[in-house]
C-alpha cells in the first residue's frame, strides 16, 4: 500500500514536471511562429532598476514593434527568478549582470548573451555604483577598507570581486575585507546605524545615501575597467537555435534602443518614472550608466579573471566567446 502511495506521488510529480515542460515548450513554439510581418509576443525578465531604461525607452519609441516584437516586461526580484524563467522558456529573454551569467555558464546552465545591457560610466568620481562610508569614517580610500566590513547585495558576485580589485589597485590587502550580504535599499540605514563600516551600493541607493551625508571612497566598476560591461540581455541556448531570427531581431532592436538612450539621456531619466518609484531630487541627481551598443570583450575578460581569482567558478573557466554573442 505504502509503495502504491509512493508510486502515486512519483506519478503526480512526473505529471507536474511534464506539464511544466509542456507549457514552457508551448511558450517557445508560440514565439517561434515569428514569421514575416507577424507580431510575436516576447517576455523579458528584468529587475526594475535604472539599467534597463533603454528597454522601456525602445519599447516606447517603437524599436521593437517595428520589428514585429511585442514586448512584455516581467519584472522579477533578481537573477534567482530570471535565469530559471529564461531557461524553462517562461521568458524569451532576461537581464542579468555579466558575472552571474559567467557563473551560470560554468555551472552548465544553457544561457547565451545576445545583446548589451549596461556599462560603467568609466568616471571614478561619478559611477553607477560606489563604496560609501559615513561622513566621519576613518576610511579615506579603497585601501583603508582592509579589515572593515563592507555590505554587498550578493556575495560571490560582481560586487565583491570588483571591490576587491579596487582595494588591490589602491595598494590594500583585498583578502582582509569582510563582506556581508544585504539588499541595496537597506544599506543607507545600515551604514548610518553603524552595522557595517562601508556599503557597496548601486543606484538609486547610492544617491540617497550621498544626500544623507555619506562619502564615496571607491567606484569599483570604473576602477576595474573604464569600459566594464556590467549587464547584458540573454536567452536560452535553445532559443538561439530554434528561432535565430527572433533573437537577431531582438538584438537589433536592443542595439537601436541603447544608441537612442545614450543620445537622449534626459528621456532615459524620465522613463524611469514609468516603472520605478524614483522621483524628486533622487531622480534628478542619480547617475545613469553608459549604454554602448556593443560589449567590451576586453573588460569581460578582466571580470572573468577576477572571478576566477576569487573562486566564483569553482575550478572552471567561463567560455566568453560562446557566452557573449
Amino acid at each position: 500500500m505504502r509503495r502504491r502511495i509512493l508510486g502515486l506521488a512519483i506519478a503526480v510529480v512526473t505529471v507536474a514536471g511534464a506539464a511544466g515542460c509542456g507549457s514552457s515548450s508551448a511558450g517557445t513554439s508560440g514565439s517561434s511562429a515569428s514569421g514575416s510581418g507577424k507580431t510575436t509576443q516576447v517576455k523579458v525578465g528584468i529587475v526594475p532598476i535604472v539599467d534597463v531604461a533603454p528597454l522601456y525607452l525602445g519599447q516606447k519609441k517603437g524599436f521593437f514593434s517595428s520589428r514585429g516584437i511585442e514586448l512584455k516586461m516581467e519584472s522579477a526580484q533578481g537573477g534567482a527568478a530570471i535565469i530559471p524563467g529564461v531557461v524553462s522558456g517562461q521568458f524569451q529573454f532576461g537581464f542579468s549582470n555579466t558575472t552571474s551569467l559567467m557563473i551560470a555558464q560554468t555551472k552548465g546552465v544553457p544561457v547565451t548573451s545576445v545583446a548589451n545591457g549596461s556599462a560603467t560610466t568609466g568616471d571614478t568620481t561619478t559611477d553607477i555604483s560606489g563604496v560609501a562610508v559615513k561622513k566621519d569614517s576613518p576610511v579615506k580610500s579603497a585601501k583603508d577598507l582592509a579589515g572593515k566590513t563592507v555590505a554587498v547585495n550578493t556575495l560571490q558576485n560582481i560586487g565583491d570581486t570588483t571591490v576587491r580589485e579596487a582595494v588591490r589597485k589602491d595598494g590594500g590587502d583585498p583578502s582582509k575585507v569582510k563582506f556581508v550580504e544585504m539588499p541595496f535599499d537597506q544599506m543607507p540605514a545600515a551604514l548610518d546605524g553603524g552595522q557595517v563600516d562601508a556599503a557597496w551600493m548601486g543606484e538609486p541607493a547610492l544617491t540617497i545615501a550621498k544626500s544623507q551625508g555619506a562619502r564615496v571612497v571607491a567606484s569599483p566598476f570604473a576602477e576595474t575597467d573604464p569600459k566594464l560591461t556590467l549587464a547584458t540581455f540573454f536567452t536560452s541556448t535553445r532559443l538561439t537555435k530554434e528561432d535565430p531570427d527572433l533573437v537577431k531581431k531582438f538584438a537589433e532592436a536592443m542595439a537601436e534602443s541603447l544608441a537612442y538612450a545614450s543620445a537622449h539621456k534626459d528621456e532615459a531619466r524620465q522613463i524611469l518614472t514609468t516603472y520605478t518609484k524614483i522621483d524628486g531630487d533622487v531622480l534628478k541627481n542619480l547617475t545613469l550608466p553608459s549604454w554602448p551598443a556593443e560589449y567590451d570583450m576586453a573588460s569581460l575578460e578582466k571580470l572573468a579573471s577576477l572571478g576566477e581569482q576569487d573562486g566564483l567558478f569553482s575550478d572552471k573557466k567561463p567560455d566568453l566567446k560562446a557566452l557573449f554573442q
Binding site: 502511495i5 526580484q77 524563467g85 524553462s88 535599499d185 538609486p204 518609484k277
Partner: protein, 283 residues
C-alpha cells in the same frame, strides 16, 4: 475508533473552541472591545508619529505616521494600486478556494477510511512542514512570474491547514451517533452528510480561518520574492526605488487587509456554526 483516540480528541476541542468560542460569547461588551481595539491602534499611530522625532530612528528610514498617511492617501488615487490590490486578492481568493475544496475533500476521504489514514499519516507529517517559500524556484520554473506562481505557494501552504483540521474533525465523530446512524441503515454518504460533516464543520471553519491568514501571507510573499503582480511586487519596486514612505504605506495596506480578512473569516464562521454549542448564547 479506539477509545484512546477519542479521549485524545476530546481534549482537543479547546483548540477549536478558541476559534468559534472566543469573542462572540459576550455580545454586550462588543462595542467596548471595539473601542479598546481602536485605542490600541491609536496608540500605535502615536508611537509611530513620535519615534522619528525623538531621534531613536531617523525619519529617513521610518517616516512619521502622518507622512505615511499622506502617501497612503496619494496611493488610493492610483489605478496601479487598485490593480495590485485586485491581483493580490485574486491570488489569495483563488488559492484559498482551491486549498479549501481540496483540503475538505481529501480530509473527508482520508478521514473516513481508516486504512488510508494510517497510510498517509507519515506522508502528511513529512510534507506539511515544508515551507512554501522553498518552492519558489519550482514555481518560477513551472509558471514564470505570473499568477500561477503565487497560486502554487498559496495553495501549498493553506491546503495543509485545512486538511489537518478536517482530519482532526473526522476523528471527533461520536461513536454512539455513528452506531445509531448505522443501525438506522444510513449508507456511507448519509453518515458523511449527517454525522461526520456536522462534527467536522467547526474544525473545517477553524482550518479555513487559519488558511485564509496563511494564504494572504504567502500571496504577498510570492509577489515580493518572485515579482508576480500584486501588492508585494509594489512593495519590492518601492524598495528598489528607495521610496521609504511608500513601502510603509503599502505594508500598512497589507496589514489592514489581514485584519479585514480575519473579520470576514470570523463572520463566516459565526454564520456557518450558529447552531453549534460554542456559539449559542446561554439563556
Amino acid at each position: 475508533m479506539t477509545p484512546s483516540a477519542i479521549a485524545s480528541v476530546k481534549t482537543k476541542p479547546a483548540g477549536t473552541g478558541a476559534g468559534p468560542g472566543g469573542a462572540p460569547g459576550r455580545r454586550g461588551p462588543g462595542t467596548v472591545t471595539a473601542l479598546r481595539g481602536l485605542a490600541g491602534l491609536a496608540g500605535l499611530v502615536a508611537v509611530l508619529e513620535a519615534l522619528p522625532h525623538t531621534g531613536v530612528v531617523s525619519a529617513d528610514y521610518l517616516p512619521p505616521a502622518s507622512e505615511i498617511g499622506r502617501t497612503l492617501w496619494h496611493l488610493l488615487a492610483e489605478n496601479a494600486f487598485w490593480t495590485a490590490l485586485a491581483d493580490t486578492l485574486t491570488g489569495w481568493g483563488l488559492g484559498l478556494a482551491i486549498a479549501v475544496v481540496a483540503g475538505v475533500v481529501a480530509g473527508v476521504v482520508i478521514g473516513s477510511v481508516p486504512v488510508l489514514r494510517a497510510v498517509t499519516a507519515s506522508t502528511i507529517e513529512f510534507l506539511r512542514p515544508i515551507p512554501s517559500v522553498a518552492l519558489i524556484p519550482v514555481a518560477v520554473l513551472l509558471y514564470g512570474t505570473d499568477l500561477e506562481s503565487t497560486l502554487l505557494l498559496v495553495v501549498y501552504a493553506s491546503f495543509w491547514q485545512v486538511l489537518v483540521q478536517v482530519l482532526a474533525g473526522t476523528q471527533d465523530v461520536d461513536p454512539v451517533a455513528d452506531d445509531t446512524a448505522r443501525s438506522y441503515q444510513l449508507g456511507r454518504w448519509g453518515r458523511v452528510r449527517y454525522v461526520l460533516w456536522p462534527t467536522a464543520l467547526p474544525y473545517v471553519m477553524t482550518g479555513v480561518r487559519l488558511a485564509s491568514a496563511v494564504a494572504l501571507v504567502l500571496a504577498i510573499t510570492a509577489e515580493l520574492v518572485i515579482g508576480s503582480p500584486g501588492l508585494g511586487h509594489e512593495i519590492a519596486v518601492a524598495q528598489n526605488s528607495g521610496a521609504v514612505s511608500r513601502v510603509y504605506a503599502l505594508v500598512l495596506v497589507t496589514g489592514l487587509l489581514g485584519v479585514a480578512i480575519n473579520l470576514v473569516a470570523r463572520a463566516v464562521e459565526r454564520r456557518a456554526l450558529h447552531w453549534h454549542q460554542s456559539l449559542r448564547r446561554e439563556g
